[in-house]
Every structure is written in C-alpha cells, then in structure tokens.
Assembly symmetry: C2
C-alpha cells in the first residue's frame, strides 16, 4: 500500500501527473558532502562503509537531510556482485576499484556462479530494510545495480580501463564466452534487484556506465539484450505498488529508441542529447530522467537556475520527466550548489505542471 | 599539378570514383611500432622527436614502409599551438601532457596571441616540406591540428582531464572569456594549417577529441562554430589541387548533420555510429571517414577481416568513404594486425567500386 508522503518520483516514472518535477542526483550520497567524508574517515575503508548496514543507511540519508530531494538511492558499490562471486574486490588508493582475480579464461568463466544473495549480499538487503524504516515513508528508496556489460568490463579488465583491451578481445574473438559470463551476470542482477525490491526498494535503476564504448550492433547484443532480460525477470509489483525500472547507458544517446523498447519504465539521458529530441524519439513509451551536465554545479547559482530552466523547457509540459544530472555529482562541487539545483527544479517546474 | 601515384585518399574525400577504398589509421605513426619506440628512445623526449624535422619525417614515414596505406599523416603533437603561445608544454612521465602556465583568468586570456608560425612553429612546416619531398609523390600527406575547443580544454585544465572542471566553470560563468580564447585559437589554427598547406600538406584534418563532452547547444557554440570559422579561413586549393578538410569530433555521432553543414569536405565518424545511418543522415554533402573500433585490432585476423567487411557493407557502394579506425590505434596492438587491417580494406573493398 502506498503510504508515501512524497510520491512524485514514482508517479513521474509512470508518466502520471505531478505537481512539480521530481529531482534527485546520481551519486547524491558521496564525497562532495563533508558529513560523508567524516563518516568515511571513521568507517575505515570504502567497502567497510558499504558493508555496514547502519553506516550505509546513514550515508543514504545524508543528502535527504540537506536537500528536499524526491528520492533516496541506496548507498552501495556498483561491484558488490562480482565481489560476492569471489573476485576479491579492493580499492587501491587513487586508482579506483580492482579485482584480485580478474576473469580472462574459459575456466575462469565456467567457475562463475550466481551468488546467493541471502548469504553473500545480506549487508545490502539489510541496508535497504533499514533505510526504508528510517525514511518512514517520506520519500521513496531506489535500489540499483550495474549492468551485466558494465560489471563484466571491471571483471575482465581487473579494474577501471581506458581502452577495454581484454574484454574487447574477448568480445571479438570469444563472443560465446562473454555471452556465458553476461548470462550469469544477468541472472545475478535479477536475483540481487529482486532481493532489494523484496527488502523495500520502491524503484530500481540499472547503471550501464560503459555501454557507450560499443558499436551499435555490439551494444544491442552485449549490453542492452541482457538489461532487457533483467527487466523481464524483475518483480514489477510489491506492496501493492508498481516498481518502476530505469535504464541508464552513459553515452547511449544514439540508442534511446532501442533502450525504450526494452520493457523498462524510464530511460536515463546524459547531457549530450537534447531532451526535446529524446522525448520526440521515445514518444509515450517511457519516462525520461536527466539531464543536466554535473559540471554546471561549478557555475554560479544564477547560471545553475538558467540551465535548469533550459532543460525544463526542453522537456516541456506534460508527464514523464524526472530531473537529474546526466552523470554522478562531482566530488569538488560545493553542497550549496547542489541545494540551489534541487530548489531550482522545484521552483521553476511549477508552470510545466498546470 | 597532381603528380601523385596514389590519389585514392584525396579522390574519396572529394567523393570521386576510386578503384579501392583508401585506408589510413589515426595515430599510425606511434608506439605500437617497434621502430618508433627505438627512435623515440634515441631522440630523448617526445617533444624532441616532434621538434626535429628529420626525426618527425622519419616517424611519419615508418608506417608507410610497413603497410600499403593510402595517406601519411604528419607526426606532431596536438598541443604545438599552445606551446608556441608560451604556455610551457611538458610531459610528466605516465601522466600525459601538462602546461606550466594554465589559462584561468581574464588577464591570462588577454595575454594570449596568435603565434607567429614562421618563427615559433617552423619545425612543423619544415617537417611537412621534408616529408613531402621524401614521399616523392607516392601517397598524399595529411596535415592536422587540434580543434580550438580541444586545445582550450588542455590550456585551461593544465593537462588532461576527466571532468573538465575549470573549463566548464569558465564556459558556464564566463562564456565571453572562453569565446575570446577560442577566437584567438581559431585564428591560430587557420594560420597554422595554412602554413602546413603552403609547405605541402595535401589535405588537413581537425581533431576535436573533446567536443563530445558538451551539450548539443554548447557543442555548436563552443566547438563547431570555431571549426567552421577555420574551414572558411583555410586555403582550399594549392598546387592546382583541391585541399580537402576533414573534421572529426570523437563522440560526436549525434551531431553529424551539423558537422556536415560546416563547409568541410569530410566528417570523421567513431564506431558508436553505424556508417549506413551516418551516410543516410549526411547525404551527398560530405565524405565519411571511419569507423572501426581500434580494439578490433586485438582480435584474430579473421575477426578483423569480418569487421572490415561489415563496415564496408554498412557504407555500401558508391563514392566518399575513407576507411579508418574510429580513434587512434592503441599502443599494445601488434603491427601485424594493423597490416592485416590495411590489406583487408583493399582486398574486400574491390566489389564496392565496380
């Protein structure tokens, strides 16, 4: 049953009328907030923070205490699934995530398995339950996962990459091996997101950070098809409410029509696509989420308001817009600028919902 | 007068009939070649190599000795112009290019000037003359420059960047300052490319590596408009021959129509756009250059041939295709794979030129 005090975000995802355009920020719980940096220092490592449900809950709630955002998003790492598969996730200072055991050979892939979420990832579902309780129905909670392709890039490269050398060699020369891996990952993401939904996530989002490095053909074969498989396998209703699914491929602006055909409820759009064009292309199939360049938050408050207005007018009147940044908020942004952004969306969007 | 033994590349850029699809590779003179690494070791620094016309000539010719490529491209750095403006270019080991004096303030911008090419950049024009002589009419020579926006990103950030924090703050808050800077850069690029043309470059290309990080509006205002200004200011005929101009914006696949309207002869396309779509969108306005993912060169020879065939058939029959990679060749590619690629384009393209 819907006991939400603010359900703008869920309504907009389902293209239902709202009073104001809802807004949240990708990576809204993070390093740009001094209270996050403080807690991070106390917690020890980044993974210690993710794996402690009380701390993950606290971090999730921090931006909601500062800003009138319309949704909270679970604080967690994108690589929890491969970690639960035993790849040994660790963070080398200043180098980003790494895996002790990257996946390179046929036998590496054969040894992959769908992790038991209740056993290996209970720290995530516990955090979800706790956050839901603490939110007390104020705003909805978003669960999330990386896309199979995006998870696979880290697993095969052993960490972040610039040229995706190893996974692309696999894609071109041993596509059946990569498909085998993506299939295990898709099943894992389904189990993982369904567990988040059952624990209380009221909407879920799949982040395809690296789908945009593929050709159009390969994007459909190796990334989108697995996201579509996930969408089809998700529990789309819980507590008597529809659970909307958002897909976001960074640099996927050329493929919005195909993404909108995946069965998802909403498509995330980065700032390299005009929202008016995006809307014309996807029609009434899905809601759109986006799409301010996060770097606008380095600008003055008046410039931030101007850009918010430009994007609101670009989407235009009518239902189906969730305002967001086109990528995660940067660590050097002043929190006041994030506040200005959220307020501007609410204030300036009123005329678009007559 | 045209004394070229192989003019396929120039003809294809002008959408004239050719016997085979011409091919060259972005960054074809570079680290993946052992003979390059050997010369680089002898030369001292990377800039020593660029600033010595004899060595720059030698490096330019290396790939042409190995592979039957249809064009050579001047070996030089993308940042010679800001270096000539006195910003103090240096290369920190493993960190890429850096500037001692980044451009941040109004007075920094006011002090910028169009460098005297004959004085400060004669090492480039001397290299061009020498290469032309050494090529002896076998294949044409391509000159190049970075786009004003791309040069500005390095100048304002002080080097490579992930989030373009400083230049975007300037773009959003002090657009007039950025325009002032881009205007000096556009004039500098015109002088620089015209000097290359007068020294013997038979075609020129503008690399807009970072245009793709902008919104569609800002791309047109801050990158494309300055490239169009350059195109309009270039000497388009020399030695009785048309000098074709190619524009390439990495991740610019969404804006091909606008790029094709700039007055250029050809548009570079990366692998995230299907060449059949690209051709349908630009029509008869321009030739297209591209677009194999350079990572395909990590795959087997049969897979490379397969991808070449896919791209040839995607462009289809008719004039106006220069085959290339969608970005520079990676340093870990085996030279034999590059050879296989070049041969495959020639062999497999014959049926497309009946």
């Amino acid at each position: 049953m819907n006991t939400l005090k603010n359900d703008r975000y869920l309504k907009a995802l389902l293209r239902q009328p709202v009073d104001l355009t809802p807004v949240w920020m990708m990576r809204q719980a993070g390093r740009y907030l001094p209270e996050y940096r403080e807690l991070r220092k106390q917690a020890g490592s980044f993974m210690d923070l993710c794996q402690n449900p009380a701390l993950a809950c606290e971090v999730t709630l921090q931006p909601a205490r500062r800003f009138p955002i319309d949704a909270a998003i679970l604080f967690s790492d994108i690589l929890t699934i491969p970690d639960a598969m035993g790849l040994g996730l660790y963070f080398a200072e200043g180098e980003g995530p790494k895996f002790e055991k990257p996946i390179r050979t046929g036998s590496d892939v054969k040894n992959l398995f769908v992790p038991d979420v209740a056993d290996k990832l209970s720290y995530v579902t516990d955090a979800v339950s706790l956050i839901r309780k603490e939110l007390a129905g104020d705003i909805p909670l978003i669960g999330f996962s990386g896309s199979p392709w995006t998870l696979a890039t880290y697993m095969v490269e052993g960490g972040s990459s610039k040229d995706f050398r190893h996974i692309k060699a696999m894609l071109f020369d041993k596509p059946e091996l990569l498909h085998q891996m993506l299939d295990v990952l898709a099943k894992s993401v389904i189990a993982y997101l369904n567990a988040q939904i059952e624990s209380g996530a009221q909407s879920v989002m799949i982040f395809d950070t690296w789908g945009g490095v593929l050709t159009p053909r390969d994007y459909k074969l190796f990334s989108l098809s697995y996201m579509a498989q996930i969408v089809a396998g998700l529990k789309r209703e819980n507590e008597g409410m529809r659970v909307p699914v958002t897909l976001f491929t960074k640099n996927g602006g050329q493929w919005l029509e195909a993404i909108a055909d995946s069965g998802c409820d909403a498509v995330g759009v980065d700032w390299t696509t005009d929202l008016a064009d995006a809307r014309a292309r996807v029609g009434d199939k899905v809601a759109l989420q986006g799409n301010m360049d996060p770097s606008v938050l380095y600008a003055s408050e008046s410039r931030i308001r101007e850009e918010v207005e430009t994007i609101l007018s670009s989407f235009g009147s009518g239902n189906g817009h969730v305002f967001n940044l086109g990528h995660g908020i940067h660590q050097f942004v002043e929190p006041e600028k994030a506040g200005c952004f959220v307020d501007a969306v609410h204030e300036l969007s009123r005329p678009y919902h007559p």
